[in-house]
């Protein structure tokens, strides 16, 4: 990074070297936490360290190394996509959805982010002793309804019961298989300079909905999770433009983590504008009250699409014609400057770097 890229401190006595931002992304060893902390599941740097230092070395192979939401592999000339995810949300029911919706939609969306048409899911239930059967039935029925809505079939499953106190009610794991249409090549490392970045709607709805019920916080209006299957919209987008370069759903770690992963994988710079990112006013207020950055809050029914400039307008229009994408907006572009980094233009016309969260985002004291 050259010196002119950095705003120099006004202090004339300043003598330090310009900060080497690229150096800051070097992997650091798992040094300070001998035990797992909640932040290791937050989708930020701590999560990435677990994957890098523990899981990648244990399972080493080229498919896993790509670190996509789903992995695409070939069998007899056809291309399949596979993905798995576990659902541990508390409470099990929340405004706008339930663990059942997340368990189906989450895996469907992970498959969709490879461009695949999701087909089959497995479902495994880890149930704590004492869990009401009526509630389990309700959740299973809701999963069935969600699968129907997404157009996928649950074809295999498993049930385990753990002793009282050894689980938190109910955990669900789903694994999904889908088929990737020919001519589609979507991967986190395909963002190219001048590509346009489209976001499918408002951010931070899911994370704030969960927080409002979990922490007993009440806001003036209800905040609802955005949990939804995105496969129908993705299919329509690919029909218009098979050459979509990147799709990601900004779940844990939020939009900030997703954009950083893409910038890192593609070694391009990403530039967005704060004021172009759609937000529900109530959600924005809730984030302000708690001192949370909405860019770091989880979403469950949104995607980021990176597409060649020539196709951006038609892809945007296609997204807006779907219920799950009606508030889609262009939020930024891929640039040659600051490769591997995400920079936002602020509402007053200045700029700031958007970094990856460390672990769980912490509400500020005041």
């Amino acid at each position: 990074m050259s010196e002119r890229d950095l705003k120099r401190p006004h202090n004339p006595q300043a003598s330090s070297d310009p900060l080497d931002y690229n150096g800051l992304n070097c992997p650091v060893p798992l040094q300070s936490y001998p035990n797992i902390i909640l932040g290791h599941g937050g989708g930020g740097k701590l999560s990435a360290e677990l994957v890098e230092h523990i899981f990648l070395p244990a399972f080493q192979n080229d498919h896993l190394a790509l670190l996509g939401d789903a992995t695409v592999f070939s069998i007899d000339g056809g291309r399949l996509a596979m993905s798995t995810d576990s659902y541990v949300v508390r409470p099990l029911f929340f405004p706008g959805g339930s663990i059942a919706d997340l368990a189906i939609n989450g895996t469907v969306n992970d498959l969709s982010m490879s461009g695949a048409k999701p087909l089959y899911l497995s479902a495994a239930f880890i149930i704590e002793e004492g869990f009401p059967v009526a509630e389990l039935k309700r959740i299973a029925d809701l999963m069935g309804a969600a699968a129907l809505r997404a157009g996928v079939t649950v074809i295999t499953g498993d049930t385990k019961v753990v002793e009282k106190g050894r689980g938190d009610g109910l955990y669900i794991n789903t694994c999904g298989l889908g088929i990737v249409p020919s001519g589609v090549n979507i991967a986190p490392n395909r963002a190219a300079v001048d590509d346009v970045i489209i976001l499918s709607g408002t951010i931070a709805d899911h994370g704030m909905a969960i927080m409002s019920v979990r922490e007993g916080l009440e806001f003036e209006a209800d905040i609802e999770s955005d949990s939804a299957p995105l496969n129908a919209m993705v299919a329509a987008m690919l029909e218009k433009c098979p050459d979509i370069h990147v799709l990601r759903d900004p779940t844990r770690g939020g939009l900030a983590a997703t954009l950083n992963e893409i910038a890192q994988a593609s070694q391009c710079g990403i530039e967005i504008e704060d004021c172009l990112v759609p937000m529900d006013p109530t959600v924005q207020s809730a984030c302000e009250i708690l001192g949370l950055d909405p860019l770091l809050v989880a979403n469950e029914g949104k995607l980021v699409c990176i597409v060649p400039k020539a196709h951006a307008a038609e892809v945007l229009q296609t997204m807006r014609s779907q219920a799950v994408g009606k508030e889609a907006a262009v939020i930024g572009r891929v640039v040659t400057d600051h490769p591997g980094m995400v920079v936002a233009k602020t509402s007053i016309g200045a700029s700031r770097v958007i970094t990856v969260p460390i672990g769980e985002q912490l509400p500020r004291i005041c």
Partner: protein, 374 residues
Amino acid sequence: MKYLTEYRDGAKAQRLAAEIRRIVTQPWAIMEVCGGQTHSIIRNGIDQILPEQVEMIHGPGCPVCVTPLAAIDKALAIASRPEVIFCSFGDMLRVPGSNDDLFKIKGAGGDVRVIYSPLDAVRIARENPEREVVFLAIGFETTAPANAMAVKLAKQQGITNFSALVSHVLVPPAIETIMNSPGNRVNAFLAAGHVCCVTGFAEYPALAAKYNVPIVVTGFEPLDLLEGIRRTVLQLEKGQAKVENAYPRVVSEQGNRAAQAVIEEVFEVTDRGWRGIGTIPGSGWRLNSDYREFDAEYKFTVSDISTCESPLCRAGEVLKGAIKPNQCQAFGKECTPRTPLGATMVSSEGACAAYYNYGRFVHLERPAIAEQVS
């Protein structure tokens, strides 16, 4: 959004910046006292649109950052005890003590809970009569009324399994310390709007007169901050040193009397150690003798814990405005938000974390993003 978007208007911000550019004739160093203001300045890039002559120095107003290491170590010692439910505001959890942080205590089986209101800690105590509930009561004058109210309520309701580990700090003594410190470069202060919302600003005219320094009570949104800076520069250029209120929609001169009353009832002034700065006489509040039985320091006999800071960390110089965060040798190397040496790198309000998270660029001129899809 009401009271939010209208204070983030880009065009108005540029007009205010242009006005500041028009009136400034020489270099000035202005300290924003509050960490929330630092956060907003860096997040919005306000310093990037100011003229070169106006330098913002980030003051010691992040409560998480100035809480002394000894207080953190006391918190960790108490939180490790099996009978304790330890309640804290969220951003205290990652602040490093000598060996651990609250996250590690939690990971090792400690019952550490993030709360949003101090009254939640009192409720948890009521619901868990067989446990000891300890609340980490830190912050400036802003958080003091709610913290005081929690202790008062616990006493009223006879909740004896509740106590508070208090490490409150006060703004005016910190301003004095900065003005008295050798090599001080601060020409003017933006006073913290939300502190003044509680205390009012009757204490400030004496400070402004004694040190011949303008003090402008300022809010937190971009237009609030730019207006505060504009008024400050105007005073500096005219050679004035007055107290002004640029945040009248929230702050009145007398402040919040009800909040002051509960503070007076529960707290008393004490000397307080500031992380990276040292002890400042009369710069803190602790529980007074009427409420001693709710003081966790006495209840758990941790008052003899004292600790040293990392020798690499220059947080004190950052907090006093002597250096910028990126002038510290450890910045971005040994010290990152992932591996913080000092608390200024931990809280998102901390000057070092703000620099790290929102490190700045000169923005190259390009057509607006919205124009490319048409």
